[in-house]
């Protein structure tokens, strides 16, 4: 809650449903596809995750902002969400290590927020009606006028967004003397993924999403990493053809989230738009190879077709979701390539799956020998 007198605000969904609440953050209008995240910690990491680009985020946790904002705990340089819907926007915080409060942070990043509305009712609505476009307005409150604006929002299906959040220039990270060189295809990578590689002694070169394959090959990578990112993977022909070509090299390859979907597409497995996706830090996944389970951090609105995988001779399933049996991980049969739908780097979320980074480094090492 801010100390200022609270202004009215509106959340309008594409299907005409209206929720009224109070305004916070920057005054104005935010548009995007609505989605919800059920995590109880890590709001700042979520706001700055590029995979949320173009989305209006509903957080289910009762308080947001309660431990302030710490500049180091970000997944990219900016807030990526298009707007926030939460129960209690809590500007007061106590964490001594924090740098600033959430209201100031939102104002600086031009992000609108609506709060003090029934977020649980909204989640139930999305759960039954599916993901859809929506709009938060803390300035104009006339629903009819807003509806016109809402209709102009492009559909997420078929939308290519990765190149909008990818780095514009390539850059490198880690120790350039390392004998493990990984080429990162940046479709909107989270900082912590890169950190997980660097911590394991790898030297990275991060390439913009639409980099030509020749450019990537010049780096002489020992392995390739396909990052997470926003948008519909099936609209990314440029990436799919690059990955197809890279697979020919039979060098280790690892994909996360969008990278996982692209790896599937490169192996002729189609993707689909999920009803309302998985977003949170408590999603149960079983590793079918080891038999162990892991609690995972997830953020995706598209999935990989289980029917196609069942019939595929090119890939096999390695990880499965224990709640709805969706595909969580695959492995390419005749190439040292694998990928997972969830986020092993977490941030936010449990670190149960960080072994995948070790696996990838080990794969590279084995492959080199």
């Amino acid at each position: 809650m801010t100390d200022k007198a609270l202004q009215d605000a509106v959340l309008l969904l594409e299907d005409g449903t209206v929720f009224r609440g109070k305004a916070a953050g920057k005054k104005g209008i935010g548009v995007g596809e609505i989605c919800f995240n059920t995590g109880m910690t890590g709001y700042q990491e979520i706001f700055t995750d590029p995979s949320y680009f173009g989305q209006i985020l509903v957080t289910t946790n009762a308080h947001i902002g309660n431990y302030g904002i710490k500049s180091a705990e970000v997944e990219s340089e900016n807030i990526q969400i298009a707007g926030l819907v939460c129960k209690n926007f809590t500007d007061q915080y106590s964490r001594p290590l924090a740098d600033t409060a959430i209201q100031k942070y939102f104002e600086e990043n031009n992000i609108v927020c609506i709060h003090q509305l029934d977020t649980r009712a909204i989640v139930k609505h999305i759960r039954s009606k599916g993901a859809m476009n929506c709009l938060i307005s803390t300035s104009e409150l006339d629903v009819e006028k807003l509806m016109e604006k809402c209709k102009e929002i492009p559909s997420m299906e078929g939308l290519e967004l990765a190149s909008k959040v990818s780095t514009s220039d390539s850059y490198d990270m880690g120790d350039d003397g390392s004998d493990i060189k990984i080429a990162v295809l940046d479709f909107g990578t989270k900082k912590n993924i890169l950190k997980c590689f660097v911590e394991r002694g790898a030297y990275l070169k991060v390439f913009p999403a639409k980099t030509e394959i020749e450019e990537i090959l010049k780096f002489g990578a020992d392995g390739f990493f396909l990052s997470n990112g926003p948008g519909d993977p099936s609209s990314m022909d440029y990436a799919i053809s690059t990955i197809k070509a890279l697979l020919e090299l039979k060098k280790p390859m690892f994909g996360i989230c969008l990278g996982h979907q692209l790896l599937a597409l490169a192996n002729d497995i189609p993707t689909y738009k999920m009803h309302h996706g998985h977003r949170g830090i408590n999603h149960p996944v079983k590793n079918l190879v080891t038999g162990y389970c892991e609690i995972t951090s997830q953020n995706h609105g598209f999935g990989v077709s289980p029917e196609a995988i069942a019939q595929s001779t090119k890939v096999e399933i390695t990880h499965q979701n224990l709640n709805d049996n969706t595909i969580e991980g695959i492995k390419v049969i005749d190439a040292p390539a694998f990928s997972v739908q969830y986020h092993p780097e977490a941030s936010p979320g449990p670190h149960d799956s960080r072994y995948l980074f070790d696996d990838f480094i080990a794969l590279i090492k084995n492959h080199k020998n």
């Binding site: 059920t38 106590s94 162990y292 609690i295």
Partner: protein
């Protein structure tokens, strides 16, 4: 791995009588485990000496052993019955200690019994503080610097190395017993001696005190495949230094970032996996330095604990039920989430609400006791509340406490002297949270309060918002002036109508009327483990002021059962037992059963007991909203003790039907004047008495009825403030004290029948027939509260003539009071002459005891009678009891070092056990009989 098919018969060990630090949460875990195992077709045997438990009911297990928790009892069971495995993790430290002891004596090997869900080495490691400390360090985690001491000298040495303040923690004790902070050297010797004495192995840990660090508890589950999930993270509002059982706690963690939380999660998983090899629940405590976020590990409990019950209620995830399944071999990924029924049990619940747990103390029962809080747990019960923000949950917790508070302050009970308030912020007692609010209200800066209390500033800033809201409310003169949006904001932040009324100095009804006019009503939200991500069918609800109501009333005929709120001395687990049985009978009679309660330790608040559960304060405003939504056929108040009974007037006034005995009859029994008139009319003798409104009147009456006299306020629970006094001076002092603490009350002065015998009857009346459930004779003389007396069933020394009189009076009273359901009558017998002392038209403390001793489902019969759908004659039963059953009170005096065991008319015991004896030559009985007058003091 699927379940271990070799396990066909399991013995569950219970936790025995209720004591401070080990309360009815283990009835919850034991019953849940038993139901969970029986679901799998396993034959369950159960041992517990506590007759007031649901777990020892034929409903819960196949074979019940109401026996002392001793190795001999276990041997008896194992000789009598083939047991494949024993589950000792559901009965707290008591059950584990017994399992360890039996193991040492070779019992498990001898009878080829598997210990499941536990690793004895892990228990040993967790309990041995020095070994545990070394272990934690060896796996790379941190602990507070400490030294172990087995002697006085070693202890002194340790203190020199560590410096002050420090902590003394005795090994192998329960609820922090014998431990404590030592702030200065002068206090050290005494504290060390006490610690060494408290530990059965005469071992203490002398540890650096991390006072003011933040304290957290994590509840974990692990399966045989080493999969681990965190079910709940609980943040203590009161920082390190106050026992977590005495701390106000909050979930989810309010002030923890993802980086800090994940570090804690990683460490907890690492620690649990390193502690032996067992499948089941576990609780780990951590502490964080708020400045640096440095983390240290405090302790681990490799079993289901008090906080598991809380975590289960807070998240909806039934920890004990799942832990029992893991113990018989299942893995988490093979089980379903019990709430959604469609998703996996291998997951971590997420909350879209805030819960607050607030302990309930009963210091007034322990005269001369030290009221300050510290390492040793002193609370006797707890409440949990649920809201959509922290402040709503906090104020609901205050409303649930059953201590006449309408919320966090703003209810005429605030303190106004800054010095007194500041003192109480430093010297922590049961009222600190209220004093924090008082201090903020008087303008004491947050920084100063933080310095004194070390409470995280986030909580202080939140509470400060209440002060701001109250100041804003001052702009308005009457409720009609409050704008709708602001009125709603007050309600959203947990204010009761009564608080708003007090602040505006108007009548509560005016506020309620205006609120309803504005349409500001409670909506109900579901506790579903998953923040609505998946559909759930669980009928587990809490109220809040939001927009969508998820609790849609059915068209069924419904009966609401009111629970008994937090456990207190005089009102405990026995009423939970009664409520659960009531709910069962209501279902049987074809009604929809609706349970209302706020005590997280209870079985009645399990989501699969009643058809619908409202986890709400037993507080009129909350109840009224439930009744207006559900429109039940009736409300049962007889089963929830005094807490529930107290609301009967308001329920009736609001036009709802009280099931069973009428409100007027209940009043008649409670009102000493009317009741005595009735006794006179029925020609039933009673001690001479009088009602006084001031001291002079009291002295006059006392001299009339002659000293010693029994003095007490009218309308109380467990004999609160009841005393025997012997002269005018004592009488004056006591009467003044009653008026001071309970203004608006009247004082009763009774003739005290010295050296009289006491007896009590529990009965059911259906309008035609009286069913005497049992007659109990107390071993101790009159003057000791019945709850503190050893009651023998049936009577053993009273004459046939006296027994006949008691039956006759019971019948007369039941009829005259027009009882429909339960009644308990207490008698004094002097020189074979029977007096009636009091009558309670409700379930009593002894109802479960009699039902267990005779093995007759009396509660079921009583509930059907109340509902009016059956008569006593419709039931067939046979009282099975050879010899005698004794209800033995159990005390927690050892928690209060300066308090003597002095018994009197005010109840002090925290729990009870049942002991069966064949005849009166039994040495147990003889000892009780010999010592019967020893502790009678006042």
């Amino acid at each position: 791995m699927p379940r271990d098919a070799s396990i066909k018969s399991v013995l569950i060990i219970g936790s025995g009588p209720i004591i401070i630090g080990q309360a009815c949460e283990f009835d919850y875990s034991g019953s849940q485990a038993s139901r969970s195992l029986r679901e799998e077709g396993i034959e369950v045997s159960l041992i517990n000496s506590n007759p007031a438990t649901i777990m020892t009911d034929p409903l819960t297990a196949d074979h019940i052993y109401l026996m002392p928790l001793t190795v001999e009892s276990l041997r008896h069971i194992l000789s009598e019955r083939k047991i494949d495995a024993v589950l000792a993790t559901m009965g707290g430290q008591t059950a584990l200690n017994l399992a360890i002891e039996a193991g040492k004596q070779g019992l498990w090997e001898e009878f080829d019994v598997k210990l499941i869900g536990v690793d004895l080495d892990a228990i040993e490691l967790a309990e041995n503080r020095e070994e545990f400390r070394k272990h934690v360090i060896s796996i790379g985690l941190s602990v507070a610097p400490s030294f172990i001491a087995n002697s006085f000298l070693e202890g002194k040495n340790a203190s020199q190395k560590i410096g002050f303040p420090l902590v003394i923690r005795p090994s192998y004790t329960l609820g922090g017993h014998g431990g404590g902070f030592v702030h200065v050297e002068e206090e050290f010797d005494e504290a060390l001696r006490r610690g060494l004495n408290a530990s059965p192995s005469h071992e203490v840990l002398v540890e650096k005190a991390v006072l003011g660090w933040k304290e957290y508890e994590l509840e974990l589950l692990r399966d045989n495949n080493d999969n681990v999930v965190i079910i709940c993270t609980v943040e203590n509002l009161d920082p390190m230094g106050i026992h977590t059982g005495d701390s106000i706690t909050v979930a989810p963690a309010m002030t923890l970032s993802d980086t800090a939380y994940q570090e804690m999660r990683n460490q907890s998983i690492k620690l649990m996996r390193s502690m032996g090899n067992f499948a089941g629940g576990c609780n780990i405590q951590f502490s964080i330095n708020p400045e640096t976020e440095e983390l240290i590990c405090i302790e681990i409990n490799p079993r289901v604990s008090r906080s598991s019950a809380l975590a289960s209620k807070a998240t909806g995830y039934p920890i004990a039920k799942i832990a029992a399944k893991l113990a018989i071999g299942y893995n988490l990924d093979e089980l379903k989430n019990q709430i959604t029924k469609t998703t996996s049990a291998y997951f971590e619940p997420t909350l879209d609400y805030v819960i607050v747990k607030m302990p309930r103390w009963n210091f007034d029962k322990f005269y001369g006791s030290d009221h300050t809080l510290g390492l040793q747990m002193k609370s006797v019960g707890e409440v949990m509340s649920i809201g959509r923000n922290f402040l709503e949950a906090l104020q609901k917790a205050c409303q649930s406490q059953e201590n006449n508070r309408a919320g966090l302050g703003a209810d005429k009970k605030e303190w106004i002297k800054t010095e007194d308030i500041i003192h109480r912020l430093e010297v922590v007692s049961d009222d600190r949270i209220y004093r924090v609010k008082d201090a903020l209200r008087l303008g004491v800066p947050i920084k100063s309060i933080q310095k004194l209390t070390k409470i995280d500033p986030w909580y202080l800033k939140q509470i400060k918002q209440l002060v701001n809201l109250e100041n804003e409310l001052m702009q308005y003169n009457i409720p009609d002036d409050i704008p709708e949006s602001f009125f709603r904001e007050l309600k959203v932040n947990g204010y009761s109508d009564s608080q708003i009324a007090w602040l505006m100095r108007v009548d509560e009804r005016t506020v309620t009327k205006q609120r309803k006019k504005l349409g500001i009503r409670r909506t109900y939200k579901m506790v579903d483990t998953c923040a609505a991500e998946f559909e759930a069918q669980t009928p587990y609800f809490y109220s809040t002021f939001d927009f969508e109501n998820e609790s849609v009333p059915t068209d069924n005929k419904k009966i609401v059962v009111l629970g008994s709120g937090p456990n207190r001395i005089g009102q405990g687990i026995e009423f939970d037992y009664c409520c659960v049985h009531g709910v069962m009978a209501i279902k049987e009679a074809g009604y929809e059963s609706i349970m209302v309660n706020c005590n997280p330790e209870t079985v009645s608040t399990d989501f699969d007991i009643a058809d619908k559960l409202y986890f709400e304060p037993i507080y009129w405003e909350h109840l009224e909203e439930i009744l207006e939504l559900e429109k039940p056929e009736g409300v049962i108040v007889q089963l929830g003790g005094q807490t529930a009974l107290k609301l009967s007037h308001k329920i009736k006034e609001a036009g709802y039907n009280i099931v069973g005995t009428s409100v007027d009859s209940m009043d008649l029994a409670e009102d000493r004047g009317r009741f005595s008139d009735l006794l006179k009319e029925l020609n039933i003798p009673y001690p001479r008495y009088g009602v006084a409104e001031d001291v002079d009147e009291a002295i006059r009456i006392a001299n009339e009825v002659t000293y010693p006299v029994l003095v007490r306020p009218s309308y109380v629970l467990g004999g609160q403030r009841m005393r025997i006094v012997i002269n005018d001076a004592e009488l004056e002092r006591h009467v003044l004290s009653i008026f001071k603490h309970m203004p608006d009350n009247r004082v009763l002065v009774d003739q005290f029948l010295e050296r009289a015998k006491e007896a009590e009857v529990d009965a059911i009346y259906d309008g035609d027939e009286v069913l005497i459930m049992g007659i109990m004779e107390h071993i101790e003389p009159a003057g000791i509260h019945s709850g503190d007396s050893s009651a023998v069933l049936p009577t053993y020394s009273l004459s046939d003539q006296a027994i006949e009189k008691m039956k006759e009076y019971t019948e007369k009273l039941a009829k005259a009071l027009n009882i429909k359901g339960l009644i308990n009558i207490q008698f004094a017998i002097k020189d074979d002459f029977v007096y009636v002392i009091e009558a309670n038209p409700r379930a009593s403390r002894t109802t479960p005891f009699i039902a267990k001793a005779y093995q007759v489902p009396f509660l079921k019969i009583a509930t059907h009678v109340m509902l009016g759908n059956k008569k006593i004659k419709d039931f067939e039963f046979e009282k099975k009891l050879e010899g005698y059953a004794i209800k033995v009170p159990v005390f927690s005096f050892n928690k209060f070092p300066n308090v003597d065991k002095q018994l009197g008319p005010e109840m002090k015991s925290t729990g009870e056990a049942i002991q069966f004896i064949k005849d009166l030559n039994d040495p147990f009985f003889r000892k009780l009989d010999k010592e019967r007058s020893m502790y009678l003091s006042r």
